[in-house]
């Protein structure tokens, strides 16, 4: 998971090239603001470590990277998902513990470590020893865990593994994280710093090699050369479109204008996707650096980060990062005397999925209703306020610094023929291990779901995995060996999307999934064009008619249901063919995809009025198991149609004619006596 780090050796030339930290200072002799040095000297918590020279940058950076620590460091995974799992209480418990025991230690809140289903996650680094990683560390577990650790023992109960650190003593009988099935197969380039660094520290980011790419770029590359480099790497848009990034930049670069704009799309509206959020919360400077480099590449003097308002922590981190970058001279007028100026502004989205679409995003920034514009003209030629604009996804920009650091060939060397580099996925749903996963392009879906994800819990059968959110499709068991690649996914009617992967098991109804996505699209459709606004509405109605029970149908519904099925595919093709923007064009995908692979489920719903997965509550028949029923009357009281009869303390009975199939009784019963089949 982590690249091995050599012990810092001040004399080694190889040291210089490996981190090149000296180069930052070397590029701008004398002019570079170095508050780093002053800051660290002032930082009273930084105790001198033998062998480390506080006036020497290499030493300093090594200390910041915590390769050697003189006192314990405790890391808490405090991204939004961690906090949601209770990391706040864990943090409190840790602080109280250290206070009480009067132990001097550093406590850090880091970003998403990755294994969200095991949160809260905590890592402890004792001096001289490898860093240990723990899972499910709720507030109450802290004391026991730290007691054991400070006594020199490994608390195996919550142990996840240890980091492999050369020069540090490994803990006995403790597996290494890079052998863990979740972390091992991953290639964490975009997520390299997430969970490792303090996201509110620009110093740590620099110590890990940050901003080198930026300085190198503005000093030794022309914008055209930069665009060439990015094009050579093969990077394609990670927001879902997959458009070659370098090419997009070139369009804007080659359009003459007095003003150009660079925009980072952090709207991340796909339900089930949280990659961008995690990257911004855990490593905001990486995104900022990528954005600044991109702005340079197209000649923009102002950049916007359009981020959804539902990500308050990420917004907070970005604000801090921008202020820090300004302080250090990486943003502002005439950056580092290079002649390049850049101002970065944050714009919050206001709750519209469609604003993740480029032209709608621009409308939103301009203070209008987020309704897409026709293309041409393309944003790179005439975008925000009529000026050339490039919009890139967070992950796309987060890849930029490492492409320049490692060189485009390194990026190009991994992946498949058409899809280079890595992709971050948000793995969720009916899978044992959920969280953030970054793998090389070309990894198979099977590997992600079964190796990294640990397969389906509860002994249930895998059914499919939804990839690409409401614009995407599902991959069934029969195609599970498909490689993650822009083009390959299209051949099975799916698409890469932004990276949301939702795993489904036998208890998931695919018709229900199609209905769920269509409902989402209907709510989020901007309403401008007829095929999307009216078409998806009718498609949704057809799906609702299929999943509605006979009891709730009106007279002619049966006829409408059959007509509806006949129309579904034709309607889908017109919507795809004529919609104004990507939202509409891809809206029918989940329906078409599930129709393709799970036609039998649809037919069961339509012809047999039965839901094979047992998920469509209205198509189930409800009855009470008299053996389990205690006659508590809870269900009969809650039943909205008074369909349950029975005397107290005697088994109850559901009247089929009155039951509307809402499922309330199932939820209410504490004895599992209601059977829905």
């Amino acid at each position: 998971m982590e690249k091995t780090i050599d012990t810092p050796n001040q004399d080694s030339k190889e040291q210089e090239s490996h981190h090149g930290n000296k180069n930052i200072l070397g590029f701008v002799p004398g002019k570079f603001k170095n508050p780093l040095m002053d800051r660290i000297r002032k930082n009273s918590l930084f105790v001198s470590i033998p062998g480390i020279d506080m006036d020497d940058p290499l030493s300093l950076f090594s200390a910041l990277r915590r390769e050697k620590v003189s006192r314990p460091v405790i890391y808490i995974g405090a991204g939004t998902c961690g906090l949601g799992a209770g990391a706040g209480k864990t943090l409190q418990a840790v602080r109280s513990y250290l206070d009480e025991k009067k132990i001097e230690a550093e406590v850090l809140e880091v970003g998403c470590i990755g294994l969200c289903s095991a949160e809260p996650l905590m890592e402890v680094q004792l001096p001289g020893k490898c860093r240990l990683s723990f899972q499910y560390v709720t507030g109450e577990k802290v004391k026991g865990l730290l007691d054991a650790l400070f006594a020199g023992n490994v608390p195996y109960e919550n142990l996840l593994g240890q980091h492999r650190q050369a020069g540090m003593e490994a803990w006995p009988k403790t597996p290494f994280l890079d052998e863990h099935p979740f972390f091992g197969p991953q290639t964490r380039w975009v997520l390299a710093n997430c969970g490792i660094i303090d996201p509110t520290s620009i110093d740590e980011y620099i110590a890990h090699g940050g901003y080198q790419a930026f300085v190198k770029t503005i000093y030794s590359l022309t914008p055209a050369e930069l665009c060439d480099t990015v094009e050579k790497s093969g990077l394609r848009g990670r927001g879902g479109g997959g458009f070659p990034t370098g090419k997009k930049w070139k369009f804007a670069l080659n359009t003459p204008s007095d003003r150009k704009y660079m925009v980072c799309n952090a709207d991340e509206g796909d339900p089930g996707a949280f990659m961008d959020r995690a990257v911004i919360e855990g490593d905001p400077h990486r995104v900022l650096e990528g954005l600044a480099i991109a702005a340079y590449g197209i000649g923009a003097s102002r950049a916007y980060i359009y981020i959804r308002a539902e990500y308050p922590l990420a917004i907070e981190r970005l604000k801090i990062a921008i202020a820090q970058a300004k302080e250090y001279g990486f943003l502002g007028e005439n950056i580092l005397d290079s002649g390049f100026s850049l101002e970065v502004l944050i714009k919050q989205g206001a709750g519209a999925f469609v604003c993740g679409e480029e032209t709608a995003l621009m409308q939103s920034i301009e203070g209008k209703r987020g309704m897409p514009r026709p293309r041409p003209p393309f944003p790179a030629v005439s975008g925000l306020f009529g000026k050339p604009t490039v919009i890139n996804n967070v992950e796309t920009l987060a890849n930029i610094p490492s492409i320049l650091d490692r060189g485009p060939e390194a990026f190009n060397s991994i992946g498949t023929k058409n899809s280079k580099g890595t992709k971050v996925f948000a793995l969720s749903g009916k899978v044992s291990r959920t969280g953030l996963v970054e793998v090389k392009m070309g990894t198979t879906v099977k590997e992600i779901v079964f190796d990294i994800g640990g397969g389906i819990p509860g002994g249930l059968q895998f059914k499919g995995v939804q990839i690409g959110g409401p614009s995407g499709g599902c991959i069934p068991q029969s195609h599970i060996l498909i490689e993650v690649d822009y083009e390959s996914l299209k051949t099975v009617g799916a698409m890469m999307g932004s990276g949301g992967l939702v795993v489904m098991d036998e208890k998931t109804c695919m018709v229900d999934i199609a209905k769920f996505f269509m409902d989402f699209i209907q709510r989020e459709s901007c309403g401008k064009c007829i095929p999307c606004r009216e078409g998806t509405r009718r498609m949704l109605e057809i799906l609702q008619a299929i999943t509605r029970s006979r009891r709730n149908e009106n007279k002619f519904d049966t006829l409408e249901r059959f007509k509806g099925i006949l129309n579904l595919e034709q309607l889908a093709s017109v919507i795809k063919d004529t919609s104004l923007c990507g939202l509409g064009q891809s809206a029918p995908n989940p329906v078409l995809s599930t129709l393709k692979w799970f036609r039998d489920e649809y037919e069961a719903h339509i012809f047999e009025r039965r839901c094979p997965a047992g998920a469509c509550t209205e198509l189930l028949n409800y009855s009470i198991d008299t053996a389990k029923c205690t006659g508590c009357t809870a269900c009969s009281r809650k039943c909205p149609t008074q369909a349950i009869i029975g005397n107290p303390k005697t088994p109850h009975y559901i009247i089929p004619g009155k039951c509307i199939g809402c499922g309330t009784c199932v939820d209410t019963c504490r004895f599992d006596a209601v059977v829905a089949a």
Partner: protein, 576 residues
């Protein structure tokens, strides 16, 4: 120099212009592709998707309204795929549309209905939920029926981009979108200026005028009522179009005959009072120039424009001419001069006007426009309503013999007739102002710089050394630009004619539907032709107008004139 681009359409070679859209190239070649949201002269919206065409090499169908032509493009406008797509779009619109075509105001010229016929939509394929919205009948001029709205957005655009008012906009999003005023309030408390341009661009029956046919028919059938009708200058050159005759064909005579057959007791001509207005207004202009009064003088015969000033530019209220509009002037004259002369109790007179305008319905109800508690005008009918009335009575304009209008208020000069087109009021005013100042007739009565459909026209009129700077504006977006410049001190004029509707009354909100520029031009040309061939070409030479002053009003701007023919304005507190 050939900078044309060669493309292929439906198998035939076509030459297109560099930079133009596919739709524009198709139109010039006479190939019709349907559109619903397209607005000539404005940036393409790309909303309806019905103009899509099949272009070789493109994965999806291409919207012809917004996609530019490219060299060697191969286009099929009516491939099965394109036709299927259009048909589906129409079916989808029909699925969310009320079923009351038989009762609908637009059942004879609804775009959606026409498209359904053209594309063979003969069954209700999608029977699902339909949006429900309340009718808005609050406005005296317009009725809004959001259930029939197909959200093409043309009304919003015309109100904002052409008229500069923006009283309506889209609300909410997705399937729940509707068009409405701020806070979904009713039209009558919004900043709507009643111009009806939205009706002109609406493809369905979602927007229509408030009908006053019922009141008029009742009055016609009431033996105790003396029903008088006046018709605006542009009506006679437009009405023919509603009866299948060509645009610009002047039917003044047969229309008069028809009106009499309908039962109107007198048929007068608003062009008469247009002449009267000129007498008052030219005098007002000369008076202001000579005594250092508030300049520029702004015309006030367009009620949408007057309301616009009251709402958006109240600091210009003092510039507005205090003259009532010709409609209102004639209404006052009828109720107080004609009535007296004929010995009829004004309360028994029902005065009707036929107007190319919906704002006139609002104007007629303005409280300050009644005299001594009696309203000047009792009902206003649009050109469209008149056509319906004539048809209801089984009259055929093709067959009737032309008749002369009633005296004295049916006599007019051609200057009064020119009021129908943008620049006409100014031309008439200049002819008379020249006479008032110099005592002589203008050498060349035709003032070319004031003619034509341009939105802003300027001229410097030299009246024996006195240079009068005038401007003519139509379309209130243009008026805004002009007023803003004047506020900023960038421009100055003595006299400005403003007509709310682009092109003037000939393209007013009450005229036959659509924005057919050719028809508008033809109507305009008809007015100019009338001006060319008749002999009485200046308002001050209208003998009946002269008589009116002699016998009753004394002179322009007299106390009697002020009492009957002038009015005042006030700031309007509306949400702008």
């Amino acid at each position: 120099m050939n900078n044309g681009i060669n493309i292929e359409v439906n198998g035939k070679k076509l030459e297109a212009k560099e930079g133009e859209t596919i739709l524009s190239a198709l139109k010039r070649s006479g190939i019709n592709v349907p559109t619903l949201c397209h607005m000539e002269g404005l940036k393409p919206s790309g909303a309806c998707r019905i103009c899509v065409v099949d272009v070789e090499g493109f994965p999806n169908l291409v919207p012809s309204c917004s996609y530019p032509v490219a060299k060697d493009m191969k286009i099929k406008t009516h491939s099965p795929r394109a036709v299927q797509a259009r048909k589906t779009i129409i079916e989808l619109l029909c699925a969310n549309h009320p079923d009351d075509c038989l009762y609908c105001e637009r059942n004879d010229n609804c775009d959606l209905s026409r498209l359904a016929v053209e594309y063979g939509v003969r069954q209700r394929r999608y029977a699902g939920e339909r949006n429900r919205f309340p009718l808005d009948v609050s406005s005296p001029s317009l009725v809004r029926d959001p259930e029939k709205c197909i959200l093409c957005g043309k009304c919003v655009r015309v109100c904002e981009e052409v008229q500069g008012v923006a009283a309506i906009d889209f609300i909410r999003r997705g399937s729940r979108t509707t068009v409405g005023c701020a806070f979904e309030q009713n039209l009558n408390v919004s900043s709507c200026i009643n111009c009806g341009q939205c009706i002109m661009v609406c493809p369905t029956g979602a927007l229509r005028e408030k009908s006053h046919l019922k009141e008029v028919i009742e009055a016609l059938n009431n033996p105790e009522k003396f029903v008088i009708v006046q018709h605006a200058p542009s009506i006679s050159v437009t009405l023919a179009e509603e009866f299948g005759m060509s645009a610009g064909y002047d039917v003044a005579g047969t229309m008069t005959a028809a009106l009499r057959r309908l039962g109107f007791d007198r048929v007068f001509d608003t062009s008469f009072s247009a002449d009267l207005t000129i007498m008052e207004e030219a005098s007002e202009l000369v008076h202001r120039i000579q005594t250092g009064g508030t300049l520029p003088l702004l015309t006030s015969c367009s009620p949408g424009w007057v309301k616009f000033v009251e709402e958006f530019y109240p600091d210009f209220i003092g510039n507005l001419s205090s003259c009532k509009s010709p409609q209102q002037m004639l209404g006052a004259i009828i109720k107080h001069v004609f009535a007296k002369n004929e010995g009829i109790d004004p309360k028994n007179i029902f005065s009707v006007s036929i107007m190319p305008c919906t704002a006139k319905k609002f104007e007629a109800k303005r409280p300050e426009l009644g005299v001594d508690g009696i309203s000047d005008i009792d009902a206003v009918l649009t050109t469209r309503e008149l056509a319906r009335l004539i048809k209801q009575y089984g009259l055929d304009l093709n067959v009737l013999e032309p008749e002369a209008p009633d005296t004295p208020f049916g006599t007019r000069s051609t200057a009064g007739k020119l009021f129908g087109a943008t620049g006409g009021v100014m031309e008439a005013a200049v002819r008379t102002a020249h006479y008032f100042i110099t005592g002589k007739e203008l050498d060349n009565l035709r003032i070319q710089p004031l003619r034509g459909l341009s939105g802003i026209k300027e001229a410097k009129i030299n009246i024996e050394g006195l240079e009068i700077k005038v401007a003519v504006v139509s379309g209130l977006g243009n008026a805004r630009a002009l007023l803003d410049d004047i506020r900023a001190g960038k421009r100055d004029y003595h006299f400005i004619e403003v007509m709310t509707c682009p092109g003037g009354c000939i393209a007013g909100g009450g005229q036959p539907h659509g924005t057919n520029l050719d028809a508008v031009r033809a109507r305009m040309q008809a007015l100019y032709n009338i001006d060319q061939r008749e002999t009485v070409r200046a308002s001050h030479n209208n003998t009946m107008v002269q008589q009116l002053y002699e016998k009753f009003l004394e002179k322009p701007l007299s106390e009697k004139s002020h009492h009957l023919l002038h009015t005042h304005y006030s700031k309007r507190e509306v949400l702008v």
